[in-house]
């Protein structure tokens, strides 16, 4: 088939492609600042953080000769490594101590087995006293009996590879052993329970927000402008108040000697000895978080409801529908887009919440994010924090996918 050509002899197809390409480039150039900004401040740091959940290069970088020498060592033989491995350990440690890396390695290995931290701190002094004339194996064994313990060597071998699944396993209450992967004993399991609790409570909070927010949004959308504006300010006012102030206010209200209990005692509903426990438990987290996240549900609902003409309801009623049928069959289906948007916004905010559960959640009302914060700022186990964060991110993405299948994300509207 003959190709259609433009006036200057270039095939039309090519010319169009060129024009489109130019257009695309221009568009790309226009969004480039934003794209670069997002890449630098968002994508790269997050990827870097997530990669920490598998990074284990510190062991092989600090002890290169030892890990190489351990490759041929068989833990199943239940024999200590040979003299050559101890010599390798001596050489590695000597260099590591000069660069002050040995204590870092100790901290890393202590995440897996208690006691490594001080073993490596102490070895700094031991190594400086060792002499080449005596067997290094004997000198290490004399310095600390942990060096003659198969467990220490098993650990070093298990964590020799540059990448590890160790953090992820720990985040799922599992552990690596020379015989494979095992569940932790019941008394040491915490994370699975926390993940389940985080998801369950976030769903309950979302449901509560919807239950409370729907009538308010309806009121806002249907009252005359002047009254609804006033109401809107009441909705937004707490939104502009500091989160900590709001959470502390809930403390004052809910605690056992607090306002609500005082009033109930005064009214005679409860006795002084039977004051209700409304805070420092799951209930406290539910109440405070529902209050804090309520605007995120009301606003999308309101903006969708505003667009529904009141004549639809009147038409339904004039055709003989009862109030309930008119609402359920005509009004409600039109607000689904707003419910969808509000629910996903509230849920995703709730699942990552940290400060409010910490302050009012007691022991039963804390979330997985509280553990992530603990590992970031307190235990400094960033690998663990990254693993927990990755799992949480994956969970959210999975739930998002399920949500898309059920509700349909294209139906979600913010206004």
């Amino acid at each position: 088939m003959e190709q259609i050509q433009t006036l200057n002899g270039v095939p039309l197809k090519k010319q169009i492609a060129r024009a489109l390409f130019k257009q695309k480039m221009r568009a790309l150039l226009l969004i480039a600042p934003l794209l670069i900004f997002i890449l630098i401040t968002f994508v790269i740091p997050i990827t870097d953080m997530l990669l920490r959940s598998i990074d284990n290069s510190i062991v092989s970088e600090t002890l290169p000769q030892t890990t190489a020498s351990l490759e041929t060592w068989d833990p199943k033989a239940a024999q200590l490594p040979d003299e050559a491995t101890y010599l390798a350990l001596y050489n590695d440690l000597k260099l590591a101590i000069e660069q002050k890396n040995h204590t870092k390695l100790g901290t890393r290995l202590n995440y897996e087995s208690s006691g490594m931290s001080s073993l490596f701190r102490k070895v700094g002094k031991d190594v400086s006293k060792m002499q080449a004339s005596v067997s290094y194996k004997e000198q290490f064994l004399a310095a600390d009996k942990a060096w003659g313990d198969l467990k220490t060597w098993n650990l070093l071998k298990l964590y020799s590879p540059e990448y590890t699944t160790g953090y992820f396993l720990a985040a799922l209450d599992m552990k690596k052993t020379p015989d494979g992967i095992e569940m932790l004993p019941e008394s040491d399991r915490i994370y699975l329970n926390l993940f389940a609790r985080t998801i369950f409570m976030s769903i309950v909070i979302t449901a509560l927000c919807l239950l409370l927010g729907y009538p308010i949004a309806w009121l806002l959308a249907n009252l005359p402008m002047r009254t609804s504006n006033l109401l809107m300010i009441l909705v937004l006012l707490p939104f502009w108040t500091s989160l900590l102030v709001r959470t502390s206010a809930w403390k004052v209200l809910l605690q056992q000697q607090g306002v609500i209990n005082d009033i109930l005692v005064w009214l005679g509903v409860i006795t002084n000895a039977g004051r209700l426990e409304l805070i420092n438990n799951q209930l406290g987290t539910l109440i405070a978080m529902t209050h804090i996240l309520l605007p995120f549900m009301i606003l999308p609902l309101y903006s969708v409801m505003r667009t529904i003409p009141p004549s639809y309801m009147r038409a339904a009623k004039s055709l003989g529908a009862t109030d309930w049928t008119a609402f359920w069959r005509v009004y409600f289906p039109q607000t689904i887009a707003g419910i969808g948007a509000g629910a996903i916004l509230t849920f995703i905010l709730a699942i990552g919440y940290y400060i409010t559960p910490e302050l009012v959640g007691g022991t039963q009302g804390t979330f997985i994010s509280n553990r992530i914060a603990y590992h970031i700022s307190s235990s400094l186990n960033w690998g663990m924090a990254a693993a927990l964060g990755t799992i949480l991110l994956t969970l959210v993405l999975v739930l998002y996918w399920v949500y898309d299948r059920i509700v349909g994300i294209d139906k979600v509207k913010l206004g």
Partner: protein, 369 residues
């Protein structure tokens, strides 16, 4: 604050030609805990130093409770914006282990005591590692309300009153972490002080401690910030609770609440400074100069005028005077006062640095049960 290194670079570039090696930065950022504690440091250390060095400025940052994580992030970004950081003993140990804090030559970098003793001797046990410059001794101990009707006039006299809900009913406030709680539980379960960590190092010992805590678990409200216990005591939300002794001093002496101290088996800790590793020369010179002046015998004693924490130097002890505002004698309120320190523990940093992760896991699992 971000601009600081640039300023420092400019000032070095401009003046480096004609200046001595002892050129010092014109400002420095000191990180501390905020509140009454920062205030006591500003009065005792910052203001006198600024008065003696016109044109020099101290910037206060209140990030000490997240100092370790932030210092690690700064070191990774190779942009250290802090010059001097106030941390607790165990944090200094971790910073030192990670190479994030500079090692100090105590006898060279610090001033000798007024009684002529070397800094190493004068600071004594408070020198817990090579990087930590101690300022104060504080303790974690209990305070109780003095007006609980259900107690029928009885007063808690020893630590085990905390675990005695028959004689002393009511809610307790304990810190939401295993450290200190496990020790106290074992002490009240009949374990001797000398054998504490030997027992805690066995799984049975930990179970034993948690079983003891189980007896009061339903009566405990857990805290994570030091200000929570004093607030709860004042609100009558709890009848007895643990916190730092300075916070209790504040409730009792300044806020005049009906609360009293229970010093039995208080747990001593040190708080002090570390210098971040890798500071440029001019900033390092300034920090070291500040440290030498501020940690001398008189300056350390001065801090006790503003807060009830004891100076870390032995030679400072006799100089502890009256509270600057309240005018009361401070010595009886010091954790190290012999009457208060009949029975005590010292935070076992070495043991906890090894076992904190594991204990934390067990403790969290126990809490969730």
């Amino acid at each position: 604050m971000k601009l600081k290194p640039i300023f420092a670079a400019i000032s070095v570039a401009t003046f480096s030609s004609g200046l001595l090696a002892a050129d010092m930065a014109k400002e420095m950022t000191i990180v501390s805990w905020g509140g009454a504690y920062s205030n006591s440091q500003i009065k005792a250390y910052h203001e006198p130093y600024m008065a003696a060095n016109p044109g020099f400025k101290i910037i206060n940052d209140e990030s000490s409770n997240e100092a370790v994580a932030k210092l690690r992030a700064m070191a990774e970004a190779k942009n250290i914006t802090w010059d001097l950081v106030d941390v607790e003993g165990p944090d200094s140990q971790r910073l030192c282990d990670e190479g994030l804090a500079m090692e100090i030559d105590f006898d060279k970098d610090l001033a000798p005591g007024t009684d002529g003793s070397t800094p190493t001797k004068d600071f004594g046990d408070s020198l817990i590692n090579k990087c930590f410059i101690p300022q104060i001794v504080f303790s974690t101990t209990f305070g109780y309300r003095t007006d609980v009707p259900e107690w029928n006039g009885k007063k808690p006299e020893d630590l085990c009153a905390v675990f005695d809900t028959t004689n002393f009913p009511g809610k307790r406030s304990l810190e939401k972490r295993p450290k200190k709680n496990l020790e106290w539980a074992l002490l009240c379960d009949g374990v001797e002080k000398e054998k504490l960590y030997e027992v805690l190092s066995t799984p049975e010992g930990v179970d034993k401690a948690l079983a003891k805590l189980d007896t009061i678990k339903k009566d405990v409200i857990w805290w994570s910030a030091g200000a929570e216990t004093p607030q709860r005591l004042a609100d009558k939300e709890v009848v007895i609770g643990s916190t730092y002794n300075g916070r209790l001093f504040d409730v009792i002496e300044e806020k005049k609440q009906p609360v009293a101290m229970l010093w039995d088996y208080q747990i001593f800790d040190f708080d002090g400074w570390i210098v971040p590793a890798g500071l440029p020369e001019d900033r390092k010179a300034r920090v070291m100069d500040f440290l030498k002046v501020s940690t001398d015998t008189q300056h350390l004693a001065d801090q006790a005028k503003y807060i009830s924490y004891g100076p870390a130097r032995a030679s400072s002890q006799p100089l502890v005077g009256k509270h600057a505002v309240l005018g009361i004698e401070m010595a009886p309120h010091m954790p190290s006062n012999p009457a208060n320190a009949k029975r005590f523990l010292v935070n076992n940093i070495e043991w906890w640095s090894n076992n904190e992760d594991e204990m934390n896991k067990k403790f969290e699992a126990w809490l969730a049960k």
